[in-house]
C-alpha cells in the first residue's frame, strides 16, 4: 500500500462564469504523503482555497488529474463524491460551521452517524476526541455556548471522528486570536505526531506557517516554492 495520500498533477482551474476568466490554478503538481503536516501559503487570491476545494472533492479541476488515497476522484459523480468525502476527508472550515442546534458531542458524532456507527462506538470516540481537544467537559454545550477557539477545536474533533484519510483545513485560524491559534495548532501538531494524522491547511499567518513541517507557497495559481523542515 502506497503512503501517498494526495496526488495532484497539472491542475488547472479557470473560473469562466465571470466577465474576464480567472485562472486560479495554472498547473499545480502536488504530492502529499501519509503523516505530513503541510501548510499551503500565499497571499489572498493566490488560489489556496481553490486548490483545497479540488483536493477535497468539493470542486472539479478544469483539467489535470487528482487522486486521493488511490482513487481518481474525477470519475465520481456528485453523490459518490459526497460518500467519498464522508469516509475519507475531514474538513475544518474557517468559520467553524458547527450545527448550531446540536451539542458539541452531537456535532462530533454527526458524520459517524451518517456512517451508521453504533451508539457505543460513537460515545467512546466522541469522548476520546473531545478529551484530545481539551473539551471533555464541554460535551453537552451548544456551539453558541463555546468560544471561537473552542468551537474550532470541536470542528477538529468532528473532522477526526470518522477516521478520515486526511484533514483539510482552509484558514482554520483566520478567525481566532493568538492564544486560541497557538492552542489549536498545539492540538493539531500533537494529533499529527502521536496519531500520525495527515493535515493539509492553508494560511497566511506567519505564526501558523512557522509550525508547519512542510510549506507549499502558491503564487498566482502556481507553486512558487515547496520546502520541508
Amino acid at each position: 500500500m502506497s503512503d501517498i495520500v494526495i496526488q495532484a498533477s497539472e491542475l488547472h482551474k479557470t473560473y469562466d462564469e465571470t466577465a474576464v476568466p480567472v485562472h486560479a490554478l495554472r498547473g499545480v503538481n502536488l504530492q502529499i504523503k501519509q503523516g505530513e503536516f503541510t501548510a499551503i501559503v500565499g497571499p489572498s487570491g493566490s488560489g489556496k482555497s481553490t486548490l483545497l476545494n479540488i483536493i477535497g472533492g468539493l470542486d472539479r479541476p478544469s483539467s489535470g488529474n487528482i487522486q486521493v488515497g488511490g482513487t481518481d476522484i474525477s470519475t465520481l459523480n456528485d453523490n459518490q463524491l459526497i460518500d467519498f468525502r464522508k469516509d475519507n476527508i475531514g474538513f475544518v472550515f474557517q468559520s467553524y460551521n458547527l450545527i448550531p442546534v446540536l451539542t458539541a458531542k452531537e456535532n462530533v458524532e454527526f458524520v459517524m452517524m451518517l456512517q451508521g456507527s453504533s451508539t457505543e462506538e460513537r460515545d467512546r470516540r466522541t469522548k476520546e476526541l473531545m478529551d484530545a481537544v481539551g473539551l471533555g467537559d464541554r460535551m453537552h454545550n451548544r456551539p453558541s455556548e463555546l468560544s471561537g477557539g473552542q468551537q474550532q477545536r470541536v470542528a477538529v474533533a468532528r473532522a477526526l471522528a470518522p477516521k478520515p484519510t486526511f484533514i483539510l483545513a482552509d484558514e482554520p485560524t483566520a478567525n481566532l486570536d493568538s492564544t486560541s491559534t497557538a492552542n489549536l495548532l498545539d492540538i493539531m501538531a500533537r494529533l499529527n505526531k502521536e496519531e500520525n494524522i495527515t493535515f493539509v491547511f492553508s494560511t497566511h499567518d506567519q505564526r501558523v506557517i512557522d509550525r508547519a513541517r512542510r510549506v507549499v507557497v502558491l503564487e498566482d495559481g502556481l507553486i512558487a516554492s515547496d520546502t520541508a523542515s
Binding site: 460518500d83 469516509d87 442546534v101
Partner: protein, 406 residues
Amino acid sequence: MKWIGLAWKNIWRNRIRSIVVIGAIAIGIWAILFISGFTRGMVQNYINDSISTQISHIQIHHPKFGDDKELKFNIAEAHDLRQELLSMDGVKSATTRTISNGMISSSKGARGVNIIGIDPAEESQVTAMKDKMIEGDYLNVDKKNPIIISRRIAERLGLKIRSKVILTFQNVAQDITAGAFRVVGIYDTGNAQYDELQIYVKKEDLQRLIGVDEPIVHEMALLVNDFNAVDQVRDQIKSAHPNLLIENYKELSPDLELFNTQIKLNIVILTVIIMLALIFGIINTMLMAVLERKKELGMLMAIGMNKWKVFRLIVMETLFLSFVGGPLGLLIAFLSLQGFAQTGIDLSNWSGGLSQFGLNPIIYPDLHTGSFVFVMFSVMVTAFLASIYPARKAVKLKPVDALRAL
C-alpha cells in the same frame, strides 16, 4: 431516530416564523372542520325536520298512485299490512292516510291542496305535526269535520280558528263533491312549499265524503327504530310486498340527497382552497428556512450528508410543521364543535330566510370522525407537496460555497 430530532430542533430555530405557519395550519384546519361540522349539522337538521314533519323514514304507495293521485290506486288490506309492519323488528310506528287532491275555499278565495285524511292517534306516532301547531288543537277533538291548515293558507284565505271552509274533490263515482269543515288548528312547519299544499282532516270524514264504506288507504308512512337501518327495513318490506311501491326518505325526497352531495362537494372545495393557501404559506416559510441556512446545508453536504438525506431532512421539517399545526387545529375544532353540539348555534336572527327552506333556527354542529381524518390526511399531503420545492432547492446547493463563504 437522531435525524428526526435534528429536524425537530431545526423548526424551532426561528420560533416566530414556525409558530406563524403552525398557527395558519391550525386555523385553516379549524375553519374547514367547523364549517363542515356546522353545515353537516344544518343538513342533518333539515333532514330530521323533513323526516319528522313530512316524509318519515319509509312510505308505501300503490305503484301508480304517484302519477295523478287517483282514488282507485289505493293499498289493499292496509289494516292488515299495518299490523304486519308493526310486528316487524325494525319498525317503530306506522300510520295510514287517505289522500285526495282538491280545493279549499273560503269567502276570500280558493286554493288547490292535498287533502290528507289521517287518524290522529296513529299519525302522532309517526309525524311530529302536533309540535308544529301554532294555534288551536290537533285533530283529536270531538267536533264534526275538523280541519287543520297551515298559517300560510290561513293568511291567504283569511281564516282563523273556527272559520268555516269548503273542501271540493272527486268522489268514487268521479263526481265532484264538497264538504264543509271547521278550522280547529293552524300549523307552521317552516317549510313554505310544504305548508302551501297540505291540509289535514280526519280519515273517516274524508272517506265518508268520498263515498266509500271500507277504509281506503293511499299512503302508509313509517318510522324505523334505527335511522341507519332504513334501507334494510325497506328492502325487507319490498321483498314481502313486491306489488307495492316502498320508498325510503331519500327516494321520497331526492333533494335531500342532492343537498347532502352538494354540501360534501362544497367541503371538498373549501378544503382544496384552504390547502392551496397553506401550500404557499408553507413553501414560503420553508424556502426562507432553507435559504438562510444555505451555508450550513452546503457544509452538511461537504462533510458527507448525501442529497437524499438532506432532502429528507427538509421534508421532515416541513411535515413537523403540519404535525404540530394539524392536531392543534383538530383539537380547537373538536372543542368548539363539541361546545356548540351541546348548546346549538342559534340562528333565529337570520332564521326568517332559513325557515323558507324548512330549517330549524338552532343548528347543532355535527362531529364527524371521517372529516377529521380527511382533513388531517389533506394537511399531511399538503405539507409533503409544499416541502418538495424547498427540499429540491436545498439539494441543489453547492457545498463549495460553504467553504468559500466568509
